[in-house]
């Protein structure tokens, strides 16, 4: 299992900027938004949590289709499925590797991007907390979408259509947590919901993903 994680991380690094790509994309989104809505700091500050969340969503989506596609093409997925490791574990590790290469850098870099977006100073802590709690769910749900579309030639667009509706609860509670936190309002409900969704997703969705992979390899 650890060997698989190390292999995936190593592959991501050698494929060229495994960690950097998501970040660069995130930076582009953050750069483009002021061109679209105007440079006023007040407006930017108000929409900053939403933009940062949307950026995280899209950056995550960007690399989803490669989670299983490469292993499917070169036959390693067949070999992994016949190897003495549970496929549920393989799927979870794949999601973890995806999170480490896309989600984690975003969490770490969020303060910098918050600065660019005039994020309110009270919101920084909540922004990082929300991203740290929410992005693992994005990766695990993304693996599910990738598992459904692994055998398809042009699965990219379909993958987005399948995965994005599943992101709605995480997005809502994540953005709401930042908004409420920044205004010193009660944060219990969104905090618990965000963490609860992530925990439940990590516990249950890998079984669905593994089932989908098995069906696709049949």
């Amino acid at each position: 299992m650890i060997a698989l994680l190390l292999r995936d991380l190593r592959l991501a690094v050698r494929a060229g900027g495994g960690f950097g790509l998501g970040l660069a994309f995130f930076l582009i989104v953050v750069t483009l938004v002021p061109f679209g809505v105007g440079p006023e700091g007040q407006i930017l500050g108000r929409i900053a949590p939403g933009i940062l969340w949307l950026g995280a969503l899209l950056a995550c989506l960007l690399s989803l289709d490669r989670i299983f596609a490469l292993d499917f093409e070169d036959g390693s997925l067949d070999l992994l499925a016949t190897a003495p490791v549970p496929l549920e574990g393989v799927v979870t590790i794949k999601a973890l590797a995806h999170w480490i290469t896309t989600g984690l850098p975003l969490v770490v870099a969020a303060p910098v991007f918050g600065l660019l977006m005039h994020l309110e100073s009270t919101a920084y802590f909540w922004m990082i907390l929300a991203l740290a709690l929410g992005t693992p769910a994005l990766s695990v749900l993304g693996t599910f979408g990738a598992a459904l579309t692994v055998g398809l030639k042009r699965g990219g667009l379909l993958l987005s259509l399948l995965v994005l509706p599943l992101y709605v609860p995480t997005l809502i509670f994540g953005a709401e947590l930042v908004r409420r936190g920044a205004q010193n309002m009660d944060t219990n409900v969104p905090l618990l919901m965000l963490a609860g969704i992530t925990a439940a997703v990590i516990a249950v969705v890998p079984f669905a993903s593994a089932a989908a992979i098995r069906v696709n390899l049949r």
Partner: protein, 243 residues
């Protein structure tokens, strides 16, 4: 005699071809009676004016939009557990009907919202939830369309339907939390409470709901028959290629 006998395609084709004329006639009658009654013979309501007549198309379509997804969830489960092909094909056949019902609910809602709330679209929890439901329908149908192998497609869409159902519910809760909204609560279940729907609206509404349900059954039977034939056609073509 078990209910699962109807899951046999041959038995299903026989039974459905016997049932179809009756169901379609009942559909036409109930829809005609309900809609004509609702459109021509109901009076204006106190705070809604004549827009209350929208009730008779808006409420049934909204109910069907949700119920069809629930029906797809049940048939998907039956397929995943008992491997009855008709069940999977019925779920496939139901999805476009559900999507159309969702569109109707959204369109009539927008048309009704314009005079009542002064806007065509509001990011109200109910409206937003229906939009999300529509996205789920789209994703489900797109996945069916994208996969060549019919059994693979049935399995994967079944799993998607299960996961999607949980997230549709979760989104409903999240959206409610996110925005408290203008939409009033559902009126139909308020009978006996302090603000019940006037009986003069209640009867045509029930007839309309029955009409929509029957219409769904008719279309579902027709579409499932088509899907079974299509499945048979594909199997024959494949066999011909192999021979």
């Amino acid at each position: 005699m078990s209910i699962w006998e109807y899951a046999n395609p041959v038995k299903f084709m026989k039974t459905s071809s016997w049932a179809l004329p009756w169901v379609s006639v009942a559909t036409v009658i109930s829809l005609a009676v309900g809609l004509i009654w609702g459109f021509f013979f109901t009076t204006e309501a106190m705070n809604f004016g004549s827009t209350v007549k929208v009730l008779f198309v808006h409420v049934p379509s909204a109910m069907m939009a949700i119920n069809i997804w629930v029906m797809m969830l049940v048939t998907s489960l039956i397929w995943l557990i008992r491997r009855h092909h008709v069940s999977a094909l019925a779920a496939k056949a139901a999805a476009p009907i559900g999507a159309v019902m969702t569109i109707i609910a959204l369109v009539t809602g927008a048309v009704w919202g314009q005079p009542m709330w002064g806007t065509w679209w509001e990011w109200d929890p109910r409206l937003t939830s229906f939009l999300i439901l529509f996205l789920f329908y789209l994703g489900y149908m797109a996945l069916w369309g994208a996969i060549e192998n019919p059994d693979t497609a049935a399995d994967l869409t079944g799993v998607l339907c299960l996961v999607g159902s949980v997230f549709a519910l979760l989104s409903r809760y999240a959206v409610k939390f996110w925005n408290q909204g203008l939409h009033q609560d559902s009126t139909i279940l308020k009978v006996g409470e302090k603000d019940p729907l006037d009986p003069s609206y209640y009867i045509p509404l029930v007839i309309c709901i029955v009409g929509f349900v029957l219409l769904f059954v008719t279309l579902l039977l027709l579409r499932t028959r088509t899907e079974i034939r299509l499945r048979r056609l594909k199997a024959l073509e494949q066999r011909e290629r192999m021979a």
